[in-house]
């Protein structure tokens, strides 16, 4: 058995397992009852994808794919931060509107 073949088997198995794990995370993302469960699953998919890109560095022997892994890590981080910020903002805006409506109703009821 040559060493190239051994590497190819190892990396292919790794990629396959990581793909299955990412699919499981996608299922969690679809099932997740709350929005934070979904964002959490997306974060985990990002982690697994970064590992997958790093595995392809060895599988294809191309050094520049490591840059892509770095950029993907940054994008994944940005996505999680933005999603959390945006959903917190949406929730607070919704709360604010509800409280305004309740006040208005109170006033009208008093008159």
């Amino acid at each position: 058995m040559s060493i190239d073949f051994a590497y190819q088997v190892l990396l292919a198995v790794t990629l396959g397992v990581l793909t299955l794990l990412a699919l499981a995370c996608l299922i969690r993302c679809i099932l997740g009852p709350r929005i934070s469960d979904r964002v959490l699953a997306i974060n985990l998919i990002g982690t697994l994808t970064v590992i997958m890109v790093a595995v392809t560095v060895l599988l294809l022997g191309e050094g520049y794919l490591a840059d892509i892994a770095l950029i993907y890590a940054m994008l994944s981080f940005l996505a999680v931060i933005l999603l959390s910020k945006v959903y917190t903002g949406i929730y607070e805006e919704h709360k604010h509107e509800e409280s305004l409506l309740a006040e208005q109703e109170k006033k009208e009821g008093g008159v």
Binding site: I35, A54, V55, V57, G63, A66, A69, L70, A73, S84
Partner: protein, 130 residues
């Protein structure tokens, strides 16, 4: 020599995969988002670092190994921040939080009072001896 390198890579990458599997099992096993965050952190730290160190050992050249390790460093810096933001989202938007996240204030108070009483008693004894 090449084979030693291969086996080192294989061991580290497979160990990292095991940690990733535990992490993905955890996000199905736990019930609440804050618990799931705890499980997801396994893949963010141990999973990615073991896999990346294993891959960096047999990377094609020095710079790609360096970049792969840079990804780990970046991930270690960014993952706590992301978890913090996510936790803030969860705490702010969960309206049924008090039903399952409980702090037993009465028990805590009793424990603190008992500890304070014990300390006072010890202090008095010391004074008495002096």
């Amino acid at each position: 020599m090449e084979w030693i390198r291969f086996f080192l890579t294989a061991a580290l990458v497979l160990a990292g995969l095991v940690f990733c599997c535990i992490s993905v099992y955890g996000i199905f096993r736990f019930e609440y988002a804050a618990n799931r965050m705890h499980a997801a952190a396994i893949a963010d730290t141990m999973g990615i670092s073991l896999c990346m160190i294993g891959l960096a050992i047999s990377a094609p050249d020095f710079f790609s190994a360096f970049k792969i390790l840079l990804v780990v460093v970046f991930w270690w810096l960014s993952s706590p921040v992301a978890s913090h933001m996510l936790c803030r989202l969860e705490i702010k938007t969960d309206e049924q939080r008090d039903e399952y996240m409980t702090v037993h204030m009465d028990t805590l108070k009793q424990e603190r009072e008992a500890a304070a009483a014990a300390q006072d008693a010890a202090g008095e004894e010391k004074e008495g001896q002096a």
